[in-house]
């Protein structure tokens, strides 16, 4: 999932444009794995959750959740609400372990849920689960949800993975089976955030795209729909019949606060209890840490900030140029100064927490002298205005990102100077999100973009959609390889990795692919984001995770310490 997008049209630099923004953008996140992930042990031990749902909590989001049918096209902030209204079959917790939700157990080859060839799946469901309206949940709801995703008349949020499902059969109210057209390992992760919808309501809708359900959702989650005030907030209340842990809060409110500076002031005054998506900006971190009665947490996020290059442009065809650009970047200063040392430097595209992350990939080195010498050696000689050129191609290009993101613009300007120092000209041309992330990005019209992207497929480290040569949208491919990167060896490795369930083989393939991509450098990775979020000190249960896009995945376990 991507993130970026900060948009804004207001006068405020920190305003985030509601809809388009994804975290892709905000450079506000910080060091993964840094200190203080969790509350002090003492604080946690001292209190116990209440016996019945008590109190209410206000969550601040800088974008407005507007889509409540979880199977329709939505963005992260919508998912933040879905986690509380609906349930998936299983989910990945903050440690990356799969925890059954609507399923009774997570299917594996070992427990026989998935056949050895990876083609036949059998999922046993948790008995006795009820929808918010009291109707029983059963396997036919699961089948209905999968069928809906594949219904050509339905505006499905994604078909990736689902389109491989065949012969979906309800074996009993608590058992469902299907076969896959080919073995596809990321499927288990995709199902981590595939939320089940009720057949008894949506099945009767004349047109599921415009059903009233979409604004009055009924799920199986820990909280039930109460009210939405458009443009302002959404209120959910505790589901007394929830099948899992909790909920311990009587009411939760998702409050839309379009500007990050304003959201921070509301966190300061206590108007919001938890500052969620997109959190506290790096510029406010020092101030936030000093606040009384607040816990500020620098948590890991799956997004990696990088310069993506469009390899079909003549300037970037030569690997030497890309390597020289990488040597020319002062990434350390970006992270330590502009982002206050909160995010973590990286030279690869996976979050370090992922089991497929290759720690041996060559780290980034800032060495402008080396950059100049390899460009000289490759025949890129300074021409007019000191800009290098070769065979009539000048090393001059545009760099774009979502307009109005001041912190990222600072990094952009630093890079501009870094590259100017090695005889490369970069011009900044930032655009509103609806423009840049449309055809301009998707159809590879850009030279370079600066973006924070989550390259994984949900919690799964499959990065095929970004690096497979068949995933180039400008060439009719399905995916997001807008860099137009092609490497047959990487293709083979990624395809093999996705079609086997064997962990060791997958890891080997993905490590190798990471090394090849590090050599080819279709993108110049800078850092892995960290989220800076905070709660009131006596709010318990918050656990940031790289495996979700919004940290409201476990609000059912949150409570007020007494």
């Amino acid at each position: 999932m991507t993130d970026d997008a900060r948009a804004d049209f207001g006068c405020s630099p920190t305003m985030i444009h509601g809809d388009m923004s994804r975290r892709r953008l905000l450079g506000a996140t910080a060091a993964v794995g840094a200190s203080g992930l969790l509350l002090p042990v003492a604080a946690r031990a001292a209190s116990k959750p209440p016996t019945r749902p008590t109190g209410h909590m206000t969550i601040g989001f800088s974008q407005e959740p507007t889509v409540f049918n979880p199977l329709m096209p939505h963005i992260e902030v919508d998912q933040g609400v879905h986690w509380n209204l609906f349930s998936p079959l299983w989910l990945a917790n903050e440690k990356g372990e799969l925890v059954p939700q609507l399923a009774a157990e997570v299917p594996t080859i070992a427990n026989g849920g998935i056949s050895k060839d990876g083609l036949s799946w059998r999922v046993k469901l948790r008995p006795g689960v009820k929808w918010h309206d009291g109707q029983p949940f059963s396997a036919s709801d699961v089948k209905f949800s999968f069928d809906l995703l594949n219904n050509p008349k339905f505006r499905a949020w994604s078909r990736g993975g689902y389109e491989l499902m065949r012969d979906i059969k309800v074996e009993s109210p608590t058992e469902i089976t299907w076969t896959m057209a080919k073995p596809y390992a990321p499927m288990i992760s995709i199902l981590c955030w595939t939320f089940m919808v009720p057949e008894h309501i949506l099945g009767k809708a004349a047109d599921p795209n415009t059903s009233p359900f979409n604004q009055a959702p009924v799920g199986t989650g820990a909280f039930m729909w109460k009210q939405r005030v458009p443009g302002d907030h959404i209120t959910l209340e505790a589901n007394p019949h929830y099948f899992g842990t909790g909920p311990y809060l009587q009411e939760i409110v998702f409050k839309y606060i379009p500007d990050l500076t304003v959201m921070f002031t509301q966190f300061q005054t206590g108007a919001i209890d938890y500052i969620g998506l997109q959190g506290i900006t790096a510029d406010h971190y020092a101030q936030a840490k000093k606040l009384k009665d607040r816990t500020v947490v620098v948590g890991p996020a799956p997004f990696v900030e990088s310069i993506m290059m469009n390899l079909s442009k003549p300037q970037f065809k030569d690997q030497v140029v890309r390597e020289a650009l990488y040597y020319g970047m002062d990434n350390k200063t970006i992270v330590e100064q502009i982002y206050y040392g909160l995010p973590k430097l990286t030279s690869s595209y996976l979050p370090t927490q992922s089991w497929a992350y290759n720690p041996h990939v060559a780290p980034h080195v800032y060495d402008p002298a080396k950059a100049k010498s390899i460009l000289d050696a490759a025949g890129w000689k300074p021409g007019s205005g000191g800009i290098r050129e070769k065979n009539g191609v000048r090393l001059s290009f545009q760099n774009s990102t979502t307009a109005g993101n001041h912190v990222r613009e600072q990094a952009q300007q630093l890079l501009q100077q870094n590259w100017q120092d090695i005889g490369v000209e970069m011009k900044i041309k930032n655009m509103p999100p609806a423009v840049i992330w449309g055809d301009y990005f998707n159809m590879s019209h850009y030279d370079t973009v600066m973006v924070g992207e989550d390259f994984m497929t949900g919690p799964d480290p499959d990065v095929s959609q970004f690096f497979l040569s068949a995933a180039i949208p400008a060439k009719g491919g399905a995916g997001q390889n807008t860099m137009e990167y092609t490497n047959p060896v990487v293709d083979k490795l990624l395809q093999e990795g996705a079609s086997t369930f064997d962990h060791t083989t997958r890891q080997k393939d993905y490590w190798k692919a990471a090394e090849l991509i590090r050599h080819d450098l279709p993108l110049l990775a800078i850092f892995q984001y960290a989220t800076i979020e905070g709660t009131k000190k006596n709010l318990m249960g918050y656990a940031p995770s790289v495996y979700v896009s919004t940290n409201t995945w476990n609000v059912n376990t949150w409570y007020w310490a007494t």
């Binding site: 999932m1 049209f9 207001g10 006068c11 405020s12 444009h17 509601g18 809809d19 388009m20 994804r22 892709r24 206000t58 507007t66 889509v67 096209p73 939505h74 963005i75 050509p152 505006r155 949020w157 994604s158 078909r159 990736g160 993975g161 795209n209 415009t210 979409n214 604004q215 005030v229 458009p230 443009g231 302002d232 009411e251 409110v253 409050k255 839309y256 606060i257 379009p258 500007d259 304003v262 002031t265 509301q266 300061q268 005054t269 108007a271 509103p432 609806a434 423009v435 992330w437 449309g438 998707n442 989550d454 497929t457 959609q465 949208p473 009719g476 491919g477 399905a478 995916g479 997001q480």
Partner: protein, 316 residues
């Protein structure tokens, strides 16, 4: 008079139609589109994007799309928002209340204070008060509203904790006092610029009137200064202000945009901004038509009032 109104009505309808055509064309031809954010959904394919575009009717020729929209609009079906698939009229209606609340309170503040500052500035021209009012107005005009808002929040909400840092009301508390307290900062901040504009125009207008013959005549006749001021000067000075006031009506929609953002106020300005950012065509078109009606109405009322108040003016 009736003929004038009928003619003006006909012209207005024609204008509205033109505005709708131009607005529709510009909106759809401008770069970017509502699918941009779907691009970023993992696993999204170009085929899938095409399908969504087809389902939303975005792949049809522009004139066809316009005709569809126009035909439905005439019968009151303004389409559904792309963001939350609610009917456009419902979406607008749900944001209208907060905006009206804010506009009414800030307009009252602005007109009262603006008139006072403008009149006093004119009758005590080049006094200390006049200088302070002038410089104050210039500061109000030179600093973005966003800054005022932030500073007010920092001082009165974060540091002093006297006022809430924005929001329409405290969720879970719907009392009148709660609403009123939340209204204080945003309406004052929003009023600032209007006070500056209003007082500058009024001061200039007053200075014109003070030197008119009839004022001199009145004074020559020995009329008391107070009477001259209230009965003649202010009354006549307010005449040109009718036009200015008429121009303020449409700011009902876009004027409060920044204030609404800084105070987290779910009004029309925010809605418009969010909808433009998302390229939520049906909502943007709805707001556009709505604001066009307000502009035409505001200007028509201003013209009528002006003619009624100044017998020298003919309506034509």
């Amino acid at each position: 008079m009736i003929r004038f109104l009928l003619r003006r009505l006909a012209q207005s309808l024609l204008l509205l139609w033109l505005v709708s055509v131009i607005g529709f064309a510009v909106l759809h031809l401008a770069p970017g589109g509502p699918l941009a954010e779907f691009t970023l959904i993992p696993g999204m394919t170009t085929a899938q994007l095409k399908l969504i575009a087809h389902q939303m009717g975005l792949d049809r020729p522009l004139p066809v799309q316009y005709w569809e929209w126009f035909r439905r609009m005439l019968v009151g079906n303004w389409g559904r928002s792309y963001r939350d698939s609610q009917p456009v009229l419902d979406v607008i209606a749900s944001h209208l209340g907060p905006t009206l609340e804010l506009m009414v309170s800030s307009t009252i503040i602005a007109i009262l204070l603006g008139t006072w500052v403008g009149v006093l500035g004119a009758i005590r021209r080049y006094s200390v008060f006049d200088y302070l009012a002038t410089v104050g107005a210039m500061i109000a005009l030179s600093i973005p509203t966003f800054w005022f808002g932030l500073v007010v929040i920092y001082i009165f909400s974060v540091e002093l904790a006297w006022l809430p840092a924005g929001n329409l009301y405290t969720i879970g508390n719907g009392s009148f006092v709660d609403y009123a307290v939340h209204l204080i900062s945003p309406s004052i901040v929003l009023a600032l610029v209007t006070i500056a504009i209003w007082s500058r125009y009024l001061r200039a207008s007053m200075l014109e009137v003070v030197n008119q013959d009839y004022i001199r005549t009145a004074r020559a006749k020995g009329m008391p200064e107070r009477t001259i001021l209230f009965r003649h000067t202010i009354r006549n000075a307010l005449l040109p202000m009718i036009t200015i006031a008429g121009l303020q009506l449409p700011t009902l929609l876009s004027g409060a945009l920044v204030t609404e953002t800084v105070f987290t106020w779910p009004g029309m300005g925010r809605l418009f901004l969010d909808s433009i950012g998302y390229r939520d065509y049906p909502v943007v078109m709805g707001i556009l038509m709505f604001s066009a009606v307000l502009v035409l109405l505001g200007n028509l009322i201003a013209d009528l009032l002006y003619a009624a108040a100044d017998p020298r003016i003919r309506l034509d």
